[in-house]
Amino acid sequence: MSPTVRLQEMIRVIRSARTQGEERGVIQRECAAIRAQFRQADNGGRSHNLAKLLYVHMLGYPAHFGQMECVRLIASPRYNEKRVGYLGAMMLLDENQDASLLITNSIKNDLAHSSQYVQSLALCTLACMGSAEMCRDLAPEIDRLLRASSSYIKKKATLCAVHIVRKVPELGELFTPAARALLAEKNHGVLHGAIILITELCERNTQTLVQFREAVPELVHIMRGLVTSGYSPEHTVAGISDPFLQVRILRLLRILGRNNDTASDAMNDLLAQVATNTDSSKTAGSAVLYETVLTVMDIKSESGLRVLAVNILGRFLLNNDRNIRYISMTSLQKIVMTDHNAVQRHRGTIVDCLKDQDASVKRRALELSLALVSAINIRSMMKELLLFLSTCPPELKSHAASGIFNAAERYAPSQRWHIDTILHVLTTAGGDVRDETVPNLIQLITNTSQLHCYTVHKLYRALVADISQQPLVQVACWCIGEYGDSLLRGECEETEPVQVTEDDILDALETVLQSHMSSPATRGFALTATMKLSTRITENVDRIRSIVSIYGSCIDVELQQRAVEYNALFKKYDHMRAAVLEKMPVMDRSSSGQTNGESGGGGVQELEPTKPKQPEVVVAPQPASQVCDLLDLLSGPDEPSLPGTTLGPASSMTGSAGGDLLDLLGGLELTPTLPTVPAAVTVYEKSGVCLKLSCERPLDASQTITLTATNASDHDITAFTLQAAVPKNVQLQMKAPSGDALPARSSASVTQTVLLHNPNKVSLKMRVRLSYISQGSTVQDTVQIDSFPSPGL
């Protein structure tokens, strides 16, 4: 039986195996037989055994024991054995295997073989898997072959040189002279290889690039020959003469003409000729045109040529062939920044491509559409983009959503439109938006105060319809909590008002709280909103109270903490509840940075340092610090030492959101009960003794000041007393201090309340004298306080 048939027989047997196990069995048997054969001496069937092994390898089974056999076969004098041996080397050996070095010598010998086919095998293998070592060893041989051999070998040698240059760029210099000479070749194969080699050399070495710029006229000449006359039937594909060679030459011209006027001028006419004369009805012609367009856009071409190129791309966009449309969009993407207007002309077609069935085309169309959005076309583009968002494949959703947000951010024609757009995105792709969308949106809503009513109506409707999209639900809860009263009033100019009762609203929020779909953050939002409503609604406060107390035993620690805090607010601090749950003021946009990404997070972060002193409940993304807030607030009046940062007077905190809040607190529509904001200012700090002053909000002309003293030094202080003096016409009453001992390291502090009555509203100043005993000696010091955290009303 002839050995080849045995190979095919084996293949047949393997294929007829019905199960994976059966196949494995057959293969194991065969491999064992092959192994045995390898160990034997030359028996004439070696090549076929290796071929069998290669088949097995292709199926995915291990075949490394064949590596040495490859080496042996390559060294064989017989052509058929060499052929299979080299094939095996290309399949089983790669530069990471040690055995690959062993074939270097064989390759070297075969490169000098008298038969072309043997040389060809060696060249092929070297170009496929030659390691840097092998390349260095054999480079001189390749160079020799580049100069003096048949075309058949030359073309292979050039591509081998390409591989060498890619692996060991320094060897490029070795091949440059030969490459230059090869441009004169008539043989298409050699020429093609030579162009590739020159391209590689020019890309890696600028001097070579400069040198080859002189060859531009020659290249232009060759190209012209191909395009005009060149009727060579064996190279023609679909009416185009050797498109492979044309594409390669165009690519080289691109590299040579980049950033160089002379070279670009020299090729201008040629490019125009190719662009106009090439028939693009088949792929071959389109490939050439595509390469031409890329070249035109990359070199310093004249404007007429550029327009021509963009028009070609426009034509491609209308092509029935999906591949061509994809290609054209890829190219348009590259030039949309530089030739924006030209690309705008094709906007309609690009937007149509958004509706294409193919995901690749859709992706390209999305990228391009986002790049083409401008102030003029924002409304129509957004309509299309939103439509796209509702039908787009999931992997593109988040990209589309963020793109839409960016575009809306930059070009929103009106705030209502902006809010509408964001809401639309949240309802269609809520799960895929980025995290900072929620704070961003909330900030946007807060800032458009005239649309509060409209916004809350829309959000309420959306919430009732669907509570699965977390970002939407979070924003909706927040809005209902803040602006629930407008919802209840039942009137709204901008949209159809809903007739809801307080129960309906509370139902909605409770559904969110109880639903399995709500994430913990969302439930936090809902709970806080419910709590806020306790000041906005009148009848169902008890219901709210009961909801809140239920969650006091919730498993989720965050919710439990909140519920407990709120409960305390109901019970012990009811007088403060209204103040605590007041409406949020307008957040300072500029302090939170630029349009997207960082802004939401930044804005909220800036609030943090002032949190311990804020009465408002801050947005959920900072739940932990919010809890801290309330803790501090609730324990404030009792706890003498207030932790946290010290604040300068509010007027000096110009850029910070926190400062603005403090300022605005004075200017907001006030509910009858006053909020108390103890803002502690350090007025004195020396030798470890620190005196802090905090004022409560003035009520008519009286002010209560709390002085807190701490001792950060290592020694205890005793007999600590404070004396205070104020200007004329201001009455001062000092209450008894809490103590007179200040232990070391701020472990305890002394507070003293001072009542000031300022009927004439003179500017308040106060002089305080401290005296204490530390380490056996008496210390006295005076400090003048000229400004207080908040001046009188």
Binding site: Y79, N96, I196, E234, D242, R322, I327
Partner: protein
């Protein structure tokens, strides 16, 4: 070109040519994932896709998928032409080629590929020359003699 894969509709690899050095495990993984990605695509979809950081060009001919991974700067459309040229070569050689031909004569498919592409680039743009070279090589193999002198170097192109 970084690699070329031929696989059937069931995902079985019929030919794999790698022009970049990768370990076996990596090759298997890439092969598996790419095959799955391409098989998941519908019939009329675009022939190009971006997969990891590569551009992949593929085309289906009867029951075989021909798939090439090219670099960023390569021309996708001309790669389609390269694939087509290879199919034409196979067709001419085997006479109306079908998948079985490639299965049972896989080493010949490789030899033909190696006459057409070298180091990932096309080496010969004339169909006729490639076919002639393969013919001659096969003749040489058949003779299997140690006398190499019979074939002079300038008998071919």
């Amino acid at each position: 070109m970084q690699f070329m894969l031929l696989f059937s509709r069931q995902g079985k690899l019929r030919l794999q040519k790698w022009y970049v050095p990768l370990c076996d495990k990596e090759k298997k993984r890439i092969g598996r994932e790419l095959v799955q990605t391409i098989l998941a695509r519908k019939a009329k979809m675009c022939s190009f896709l971006e997969w990891r950081d590569l551009k992949v060009v593929y085309k289906r001919y009867a029951s075989l998928y021909f798939c090439c991974a090219i670099e960023e700067q390569d021309n996708e459309l001309i790669t389609l032409e390269i694939i087509h040229r290879y199919v034409e070569l196979l067709d001419k050689y085997f006479g109306s080629v079908c998948e079985l031909d490639i299965i049972f004569n896989f080493e010949k498919a490789y030899f033909i590929l190696d006459e057409f592409l070298l180091g990932g680039e096309a080496q010969e743009t004339s169909k006729k020359s490639v076919l002639k070279a393969i013919e001659q090589a096969d003749l040489l193999q058949e003779r299997q003699s140690d006398d190499w002198g019979g074939l002079a170097n300038d008998e071919l192109l």
